[in-house]
Structures are given as structure tokens and as C-alpha cells.
Symmetry: D2
Subunit: 420 residues, 4 copies
Amino acid sequence: MIPDLLSQYASVRRWSERIAEPLSPEDCVVQSMPDTSPIRWHLAHTTWFFETFVLKRQQGYEVFDPAFEFLFNSYYNAVGEQFPRSQRGLMTRPSLFQVLDYRQHVDRALRDLLESGQLEASEADLIVLGLQHEQQHQELMLTDLKHLLSLNPLFPAYRNLPLKRGRFPGTPSRPFAEIVGGGLVEVGYQGNGFCFDNELPRHPVFLHPFRLQENLVTCGEYLEFMQAGGYSNPEFWLSLGWSAVCENGWTSPLYWYSRGSGWEIFTTSGRMPLDPDWPVCHVSYFEADAFARWKGKRLPTEFEWEAACQSTRPTGEEEPAAPFLDNLLQAELAVHPTAPGQGMWGSVWEWTSSSYQPYPGFRPAAGAVGEYNGKFMCNQQVLRGGSVATISDHIRSSYRNFFAPETRWQFSGIRLAEFV
Amino acid sequence: MIPDLLSQYASVRRWSERIAEPLSPEDCVVQSMPDTSPIRWHLAHTTWFFETFVLKRQQGYEVFDPAFEFLFNSYYNAVGEQFPRSQRGLMTRPSLFQVLDYRQHVDRALRDLLESGQLEASEADLIVLGLQHEQQHQELMLTDLKHLLSLNPLFPAYRNLPLKRGRFPGTPSRPFAEIVGGGLVEVGYQGNGFCFDNELPRHPVFLHPFRLQENLVTCGEYLEFMQAGGYSNPEFWLSLGWSAVCENGWTSPLYWYSRGSGWEIFTTSGRMPLDPDWPVCHVSYFEADAFARWKGKRLPTEFEWEAACQSTRPTGEEEPAAPFLDNLLQAELAVHPTAPGQGMWGSVWEWTSSSYQPYPGFRPAAGAVGEYNGKFMCNQQVLRGGSVATISDHIRSSYRNFFAPETRWQFSGIRLAEFV
Amino acid sequence: MIPDLLSQYASVRRWSERIAEPLSPEDCVVQSMPDTSPIRWHLAHTTWFFETFVLKRQQGYEVFDPAFEFLFNSYYNAVGEQFPRSQRGLMTRPSLFQVLDYRQHVDRALRDLLESGQLEASEADLIVLGLQHEQQHQELMLTDLKHLLSLNPLFPAYRNLPLKRGRFPGTPSRPFAEIVGGGLVEVGYQGNGFCFDNELPRHPVFLHPFRLQENLVTCGEYLEFMQAGGYSNPEFWLSLGWSAVCENGWTSPLYWYSRGSGWEIFTTSGRMPLDPDWPVCHVSYFEADAFARWKGKRLPTEFEWEAACQSTRPTGEEEPAAPFLDNLLQAELAVHPTAPGQGMWGSVWEWTSSSYQPYPGFRPAAGAVGEYNGKFMCNQQVLRGGSVATISDHIRSSYRNFFAPETRWQFSGIRLAEFV
Amino acid sequence: MIPDLLSQYASVRRWSERIAEPLSPEDCVVQSMPDTSPIRWHLAHTTWFFETFVLKRQQGYEVFDPAFEFLFNSYYNAVGEQFPRSQRGLMTRPSLFQVLDYRQHVDRALRDLLESGQLEASEADLIVLGLQHEQQHQELMLTDLKHLLSLNPLFPAYRNLPLKRGRFPGTPSRPFAEIVGGGLVEVGYQGNGFCFDNELPRHPVFLHPFRLQENLVTCGEYLEFMQAGGYSNPEFWLSLGWSAVCENGWTSPLYWYSRGSGWEIFTTSGRMPLDPDWPVCHVSYFEADAFARWKGKRLPTEFEWEAACQSTRPTGEEEPAAPFLDNLLQAELAVHPTAPGQGMWGSVWEWTSSSYQPYPGFRPAAGAVGEYNGKFMCNQQVLRGGSVATISDHIRSSYRNFFAPETRWQFSGIRLAEFV
């Protein structure tokens, strides 16, 4: 196990730095809004996790800089006072380069620990958790930098990759095809790998017969909703959703810009014309819900989604072949479902109608790491699937992502459901 | 049915005016915060409901004042533009007396309609809905006026009734006693009477074996939580709850005032010393949840609550003997559970851990009245039971009340649960 | 002096109650915005002044209600804690009738004191100050109730007086006529009557030769400014003024409503068509300044205004024949300058370019009443003249009114100036 | 003239870059609050001034990047739309290095223009204005970077110069010594050099006999005010000042930190113990005014200040020997008045009681550069003198600096005045 963990550690840590490579120190220090964090902060905070929860307990470990404990704590009250989240972007020191040194310092110590063979099982578990944690932050780095760059009137690209853009293989908006019988279904994580505490315990739920649409909702379909007055008619909207539309002046998904008679979208490779066949993305839960109501359909519950995922997956094929990073641009330009069943992950996160709640018997982990999931179980909606910005080995059918219903800067889209 | 409806109409409408009787025109016009409404507005809006949805469709009905459609619409987008909710308290005309005239005008027309025998079934349904609607507003009138009076440094009483205050019959904090076996349980309204659309359809849910505590959490128990540092330790709190504690400076339930070494509470009969045996009241969901976590327990789901209610109710005893209005003061001073099973309604609303979601297959009513429930199904927690301010024939085991988790001005308390 | 003071006391106090007569208890309790106060609060606070500064020092005086000291203090820190200004409208008790009782109680005691012959000179001075204070609040009562009624979608009239409306006698926008030579000029109060501390000491200032326009700027002239793009061109505006235009969406003076192709204004007798010959009113300092810049002129300094007033007044004619209350409607409909020189008071307050500063050697009065003027000398502009809502014996050429530059709910207008 | 202008241009432009030298790209991109700007923005905006107002009019000039016109306009409405001030810190591109390239591009073109001998007089005037403008921004760069660094919990130093710190030569708090006779005094700029439009026209004002204190108020004196309850007693404060104290929780000047029983201050060389002999600095107008009232004195008017400056200056000594940049640390650590009369500039800006108003006959320059001064003449207080951060050839006795009364991040201090 240890050799595996070592190579996994090296690989995950390397990704974070690759994500930051195309960015300048300026890009890495600024915070675009209270919901996002500076890239440099992500790089430091993920490192802080290993230093705080693993290395500090090791005899002889020399802390890189005692101030970092305070500077790069996110929300772990049990660890100590926190630097206010909304002011992360005001901290211009330590510099990006000092943070990269911090990463090297911690990586060296952690590698030594892994190679020493002295690792306790509980420590190995914490390292695995730290890597999963870092993979979550890798996705946030991508969504946060996209948001930051979008605020610049120059609309700079994150990376300019040569495009190998192709047309969609399938037919969008295919009629409802998947049917899942109702009754008692088991949900929650099952297996020997890693999962978060919020995926447990596995337990039965009772589902009414339902169908999920095979394809994600496309930009073209969403444009129809917009042209039908979707953003000016309160009847389609939840009450809070309609308030959000009015207060924020929403008239389209995030990153859409009208240009002449058409639309452009901002992607990580800059602004480009919208393709009606792409899955719609960067919509809030409110918009997903309103679209579904307008269509006479609804969003799936998280359990319907999970049950459908289980029922359509060919045996043994747990691992999706999701694109990542090198393909991020490709992916943003041509995210597509392919064969049925494989289409349920890896292009956009899918809003579900389920609010984020503990499973029956849920117990958070002991100590500070127990603050990871449970304390956010209020006023959040569950998203399922995974997006082009999600690293592939992080995607699984029991994974529960969650965001506040007004969130739009994540790669979040729509799949429709209905009762049979 | 019509004669019954007539007497029911007269009785419900009369209640609203009785509630307002002890109040001055000044008390009736002011709005204490955006969440509350002026009493005069409640009196007018409940009347507007009957005029808009029933009387305006009748040939020959003469509208009392065309401006009222706009002035007293609450949130029915389908009916037309609305006067902004937060400015209801700025409207000093029409006066309280004009609104009472408006009530008489509408009551006369509606009585004529009921006596005419010309009533269609769909109209009768709308009248029943209007009465249920008014009963909900009657509870809000009581909670809103309590809030308004509490802001006055004189802490005036709403009514000064002679107190027949007694001690609690039962033992507070009795150990967990109720056990309800798990498995598939039917929830949702069943019967021939009135229910709201959000109580339907009745459907099975799968429950894990659980227990509910027989008694509500008392002020004395809550004081222990406070003295144990409940309000200064983030580990007990949901993340949003801890933010609410810090931003609002909460250190106790609403309407609690420290006085010397003890506590006083503000009630509708003014300020008085706190009795540790009373059920704790005017806590938010966040406080209820934090208290439960501190105790090592949890809040029940709304389905556990409903299942427990069904299982403990003696046959045929659907109707609780809840106190109301004349007894409001008594009730506020001595709300008490009595025999097991009867204790689940009529003293305080009980926060559940369930967020407010549609039942599988939920369909809102057609037209404007369909805006009644469904559009609020986001970022709200379900409360079950009923309070001292709830009129008794409005209480039933399938009733789903809902408020945002930070809400404290309702009569809301705590019942603990645990898995077996 | 005492008999005079007695009759003056009775007369001034009576006015306040006459102002409130056409209003309902509802009208008297609500606060329309943080800058205004409820009418009932004005009635109580002006009474509080006499009780606190005069009666409480008298042996044997029985306080009406000890709570009122706290409830009706405005901003006198030296007297004690204050009820927060922005929450004055949340206090529904004491009722209007209790406040009227309070007035009677204080009036009776003060009349007894005046008749006793025991009055010390310093006490008489405080009574005179209290009456001047009440006269200022009488003007605020009128501007505050106008603002409150304007927020009501019914646009109710304060009083419906029969209109004896006539055309303007003079020619509006007459060319500049008044010339005042420059040099050293004495400004500040001179005489044996009452004046506020901020009108002293009388002192010389050096003025450059200037002219004031004989007529006030009319609505018709202001409409030209609006039609010339006045509200959409930043070049005419102070930087803060342009921010105020953008943030508040100003496109006209306060209380102007476009209707078809024309304009209506809201007055104390309701909405009515705008007459282009009326002096423009309810403009902020920013609008007055922008209009002047657009015209190629400027606003006068407060000293130019005072010097012009002195130079144009026929001997002995200190007392303007200004309209009041019974004539308020008339006045609002037909405020007009008449003969030159008399036109400088009594129709609208005139914004000056002078910020509100102490005169050289200014000393506030000792004790709590010293908080009357001096502490507001920052970020306020001086207005001179007096308005239709100002009681006539309160108007004098040295009087310095002051408001923040964004203020619009006062009867404030524009007179132009230029250097010769 | 042209050769002089050329060397002056080179010298001023070089200063800006020297100021930025000790900073990282991260330090240069972040905006610490809406009142400040990122350093990189200052570097670009001062360059934009020359490109927009001088170079774009030259035939054959090639614009560096057309987007910069929009990105680096500050508030010149006449030039075009502006990038919102509060979002300057969200723009991570163009990078610091691109902005330095922009500076080189413009400098080369401007040098060519200056050397060409084709320069018109009006263009030379604009270049002189541009240099004065840049010198103002150089001071803002220093105050803005100090503010940014102060928000970092590490309290990093801007520069760590070896300290040659000496004691004060003079006796602090010497009794009032300077006397200036009253009467008519000429104020405003006189001479052949550069001055801003707001220093003209020179004109007479009438002054009452007054005295200015020879020494600036020291930290030790200010500590006495603090220990006497200065920040908790409303009687010393303007009404708006007291609100600022309460809302912001002010208990000391900006950048003061209590540490054990003493105080530390944050300077551009980091945190260090407070020396009671230093002039107090980083106080708002409100604090300066409250201190003066507590002392029984007052702040001088801007004209008293200017008159005193003229009367005490030895003949011919217009040029103060003020410290700058290399000495900034020294200066911050040991700002000191020396001989009488020289003490009136170069250590801290001195708040005056004068609000910022136009001189009689003031005319802003034509065109966009006319937006430089006049439009800010509202709700601002005048400061006189100059600070350790002011470049020495920018200091003169007629110079009018101005800031809103709550401003604290400038190097602003207190000199007391009184009437004789």
C-alpha cells in the first residue's frame, strides 16, 4: 500500500502545480469574490492540510513557518483561529514562490515519512483524505481562475490549446429512454476504496418509478427557454430563485454574452461563439429547476440519479474515462455524452432536487477532519456526476457534491427527470 | 355542506378581528421587520383572498376599492403586480377602520353567495382554502404582534389575562420512551377533510428504527446548554448556524433577557421570570440542531415525527384539544405536554431535520392559488406539530409548516430523536 | 416679558397640534425613512425638551412618565442614552393620545411656572429656545408627513383646501437685476431678539462684486435642463452628485411623476399637473449646483445671500409676510416672489454654495443645549430664506438652515448668482 | 524650457518605478479597499494620462494597446467609460511587466516629442500637469502600499533601511508662539511656476487675529486624549465623527496596535514601538477636530495656515528641504519639526477646518483635464503642508490637498489654533 500511496501522492500534488503553471503571480494572488479563493491560497491550504494533520504529529518535523497555520486554515475551528475567508485576496505575502517552497518542504517530509515505513494506518488514512481534499481543490482552482479571468474586460484565455473540436456523435434531446423501476434501492458507497463520510452509511430508500433523460439539456434547448421569456416570467421559478433573478439581473447562464444577434460564451480558452449542441453549463439550481418546470419535467433526486447510474453501468465498469486538464479546453468546447450510461459523469455536475442532508446514522469523523462535510448540511443542494474539471479517479456514483442553490461558477448543468 | 361552510366562515373571520381587538390603530399599522407584516395588512390580505379568488368571478359583485387588489396582494405573481413586502409598514392609508369596512363588505357578499345556493364545488373549495389561509395568518398575526411589542422598550403586554398558572404535571426530560419500528411507513394526508397540496400524495417512506423523546426540551435543559458554552463553541453548530450566532450576536433564544443573576422572557403578557420547566421556545433551527448535537442526539425527520404521531395516537382521536387565544397567555405561561402522544401538538412547533421538499408526484393547484406552497420549497426546514398560537382545528399530523432555518419569531421548540 | 412669553408659548404649542389634526393615528406613528421622524415623535420630543431642560429642575414637578426621557431624546448625548433614530417608527406605544396627554401635562406645568413669576432669566431663555426648536420641528412635521404620504400608492392629500389659485404676477426668469458691491460686509445676527448660536458672532467678510438673480429658478426652466440631458451628462455634476444620480436613479426632482407627455407633482393636496411658472422645489444641493453649472452661473454663497437681503430690504421691514399652514396648499400651488427683495424668503429654502461652518469665535451654549448646532458642522450645506412650511416669525436674514447635500424632502429650491 | 522639461520628465517618471522596486507582482496587483488603487494601476494610469492627453494628438503615434484607454481611465468622464474603481484589484492582466513595457513605450514617444522641438505651449502645459499628477500618485502609491501591507497578519516591511534614528531637537508641545495679525490677507498661488487651478485666483480674505501652535500634536499628547476617554465620550465629537467612531470601532489612530501595556505602530518598515515624541499621524479629520475640542483649541482654517506660512518664512526660502523616499523610513520614524516656520511642511499633512470650496472666480481648465479638481468640491476637508510621502518640489504654501473627513490612510496629523 505504501508504495502506491507514495506514487499517488506525487501524482496528485503535481497536478496542482500543473494547474497553476500557465498563471502569473498576479493571477494567483487575487480573489474574485467571497466564494472563490486565490490560486496561491489553494496551493498553500492543501499543503497546510498535510502539515497540520499528519506532519506536525511526527517527531522531529520542523514547521515551515508557524504563521502559516493561521494564514491557510480554511474553516477548521478545532485547529484554531482562521484568517477571514473574504480577505484571502488581500494577503500579498507570502508570495507565490514562497508557497511553492512550502509545498516542496512538506512534500519532502511527507515522502520521507512514507518511505520510512513508520506510517500508522490512521495516518495513511489522513493522507488519503488529504489527497482527495486536494483533488477537490484542484477543481475549485479551475472554476475560481475561470471566474477571475472572466472579470477582466480583456477576457484572457487560461490556456490556448490547439482545438481538435468535433461534432457531437449523438442526437441531443433524445426522448426519455432510461427507465428505472421503483421500490427499495440501496444507496451510498459500497466497496473497499476511499469515500467521504457523507456517502455513508449505505442504506435503503424507497423510490417511485421514474425516468431520467438520456442526454443533458443543451445550450440550444436552454436558449428556447430564454426566448420563451424564461427569465421574465415568475411562474417558472422558486420564490428565492425569482428573487435571485431580479436582484442579480440574470438573463442568461453565467459567462454568456450576447453579441449582435447571437451569443458568445467565456471559456478557459477565451470567448467564443456558443454551440447549441453543448450541454448548458454554469446555471444555478434555480435556473435548472425553472427550466425543468418550463419543460413540464423536474430534476431528479440524488437517489434516482444514483440508482440510474447503478442500473445502467455495464458490470465492472466503475471507472469513467473522464477528460482532465490537458483536455479541459477540448472538454469545455465539446463536452458530450456518448453511450448511454457513460453519459452520467464527467461533463457537467448535475443539479438534483435533493437538499444536502445526512444519511441515516451518519457520523462525522472524530477531531478536526470531522468538520469536513457534516457542518455544511443546510441550505445546500446535492450535485451528482462530475465535470470536465473533475479529475477522473475522483468520480464515482456515490459521490455527493453540494453547493448553495444560487451557485453558478461551478461547471453545473441539467438532466431532466419525470415519474413514469 | 353550505350551512356548515357558512358557520365556519363566520367563525374563522370573527377570530381575526378578535385577535386585533386589544390593539390600537398604531399597533396595527407598523411592520416590525421584513419577515413580519402589519396586523392591518393581515386583516386586509385575508379578505383580499376571498374577493380576488371567489367574489370577483361573481356577476354583480361590486369591488370595494380597485386599489386594494394591488395593495393587499402578497406574493401571487399571477394576480398582478405586488406592493413590495418590505414596505407594507409605510402605508398608513387605508386606515384600520377602512380595512374593517372592507372586511364587512366582503363578508356580506360572501354570506349572500353562500346563502344563494349558487355556489359551485370549485368555489366552495376556494372558500375552504381561504379559511385555512386565514387561520395561518391568524397565527402570524400573533407572532408578528409579539415581535412588534418586544421592540418597544416599555415591553407592553398584548393582553393582561388573570393567570391560572399551574405547575407541570409531567416530569420534564423523561428518558426516551417512544419507540417506533422502522420499515416502510405511509406518510401524507389521508381522509376526507381539507389538506394543503404539500401534504400529498400520501406515499411510503423507509424509516430506520428510531426513538423520539417524550417531552419537549425545557428552558432548564436549554440553560444548561448555554452555561456549557453552547453559544461560544463552534463545534456544536452547522456552519451557517455559527455564522448566524456571530453576525446576530445570539447568546440565548429570542425574547430572553438576562436580569441580575436570572432570566426573564417576553411573552404576550409582558416580561416575566423564566420558568425552567417550560418548553424552550423561539429558537431557530440552528439552535435546535446545535442543542441536539451537544446532547449527543439529533432532531427527528418530518417522517419520523409523523410516524410517531400516528403510532401513539389513540384510535379516533385526531382532534387535539389545543389551547387558543383566550388561553394564549395561559398557554404561553404554561405550555405543557400531558399524556404521551398528546404532547406532540399544540405547545410549540417542532423543528425537524427535513428540508422542505415536494412529495413524490406533488402537483401544485392550477392557477394563482397554486403559488401557495410549491414555490417555497428551497432553503426551508419543516416544522411539525402546532403551537399555542395555532387554532386547534388547524392542527393535524400531516401538516407541514416551514420556515427558513434562522427564523426565531415563531413559537418554535425542540424534540430530540435518536436511532435505536 | 413673561405675559408675552406665555401667549407665545400657547400659540406655538397650538400650531403643532393643528398640524397633526388632519392625520390619523396610523399617519402619526410611521417613520417613512431614517431621515424623517413620526409625527407623534415630533409632538413628544418637542414636549420632552421643555420637560427635560426646564421643568425637571423645578421643585415639585412630577414627571409624566420616566420612560419618556429615554424614548423621546433625539441626539442629546449629555442627557442620556437615546432610542435609535432609525427605529422611532417601531414604537407603537405610547399612543398618539398618550402623547397628547403628555403635551397637556407639560403645558399645564409650564403655564403655572410662567404665571408664578418665579422664572429665572436663564429659564426664560431656555423656553424661548424650546419654542424656536418646536417651530423647526413644525416645519419638519410638514416635510416628513409629505414624504410619508408620497410613498402611499394612493397619493393621499394631507388637506383638501379650496384652491384660490392665481397666475404669477411677475415675469419669471427676469435677467439679473440685483447688484451688490463687494468689499467688507458684516454678516450674522444683529438685534435684541432671539437667534441661534450659529448666527453669531456677527463679523466682517470680504465679498467680491456679485449679482443675484431676482427670481427663483422655475419648474419650466428646470424642465429645460432635464430635456437638455441634465440627468444623463456627468459634466454638469459634482462627483458625489453624479454618484447620487446613478445610485438613486434620479431623473427629476423629488415628487415629480411623468404622466403621458407631461408631468405631475405630489403636493400636500395630492397629485396635480405641474405648472412651469412655479419655483422648482425638492431638489438636492447636487441638482441645484448642476443646474447652475449648466446655465453658466453658480449658486450664491450664504454671505452673498445675506448681504443681498440686507441691501434690498426697505427700511424697517424685517418681517416677511410669509404664508403658513392654512395657506400651505395655496403656497405649495402658487409660491411666488412678488416685489423685488421680498422674494428672498418664504417660498422655498435656497441652497447656497457655503458648507456649514462655525463663524469665527463661535461658542456653543453650555450644557446639553450646546449640542444643538455645532456638532453638525461637517458635510452639510447652508440654505437660506425659508419656505412655505416655515412659520413666518421664524424667518430672518441671518438664519442658517443646513442639510446634507443629497437632501430632497425639504422645500428646497434654486437662486442663481454670478460675479460681476 | 524643453531641455528642463525633458530632465524633469525623466526624473519624475523614474521615481514611480523606484517606489515600486521593492514590491512583488503580487503586491502590485491587489487593491486593499475601494479608496486605494493597486500600485500597478497607478503606474499605468499616470502613463495613460500622457498617452491620452498628449501623445494621441500627435500624428504617427501608435497606441500601445487600445484597451488601456478604458482600463486605466480614473474618473475622466469626458474621455469615455471607466472601469469601476472598486474593481481595479480584480484585473490581473495586463501584468506588472506589461505595464512597465507600456511605460517605456510612452516614455520613448514622449521623449521623442520633447526632443523634436515641435511641442506647442499648450502641450508643454499638459506635460507639466501630467508630472504634477504623477507626483500626486507617487504619494498615493506610498499610502496605498502601506495600507495593503498593514492588512497582512505578517505586517511585512516595505523597505528595511538601516535606521539613523535621532531624538527630537525641539521641545514638543511648546506653548503657542506664532502670532499672526488679522485683517485682509491675500491667499492663493503667486508666482511663475506651476500651480493647480484650485489655488487660483489669488484673492483677499478677512482673518480675525489668531495663533497657530508651533509644534504638531505628538503621539504622547494624543495618548493623553485617549486615556482621558477621548474615544468614548461623544461630547468631543462632531455628530458624523461620533458615528464613525461607533461604526468602525475606532479606539486609536490607524495603524496603532496595543501590545501589553504599550503601543506599537505599523510603519513602512514594519511594526515598532510608538515614540511619544513623534507627531501623531493617520488620524481622520474627526479625530483631529475632537482632539482640538478636548484641548479647548481648534483646527486652523486653510487661510490662517497659509497666512502663517507666509509670515514665518524667511525671505526667498520657498523650497522646503523635505525628506523623500530614501528617507521615507527615517522620516516615518523621526518626522520632526525643526526651526520655527520650517515645521509647517513635510512631516504630516495638517487637517484644516476649511471645507474644500472654489476660490471666488475659480474656473476649471477646459476639456477633460478640467475634471481634475472642481468636481470634488463637496464633503471634503482641506489639508495643508505636505507629508513625508510628498516629493519635496511638490510642496508649496498655496497647495490644497483634500480628503473626506473620515480618511485615515494618508499621512495626516494635527496642528492646533486659537483666536487671540
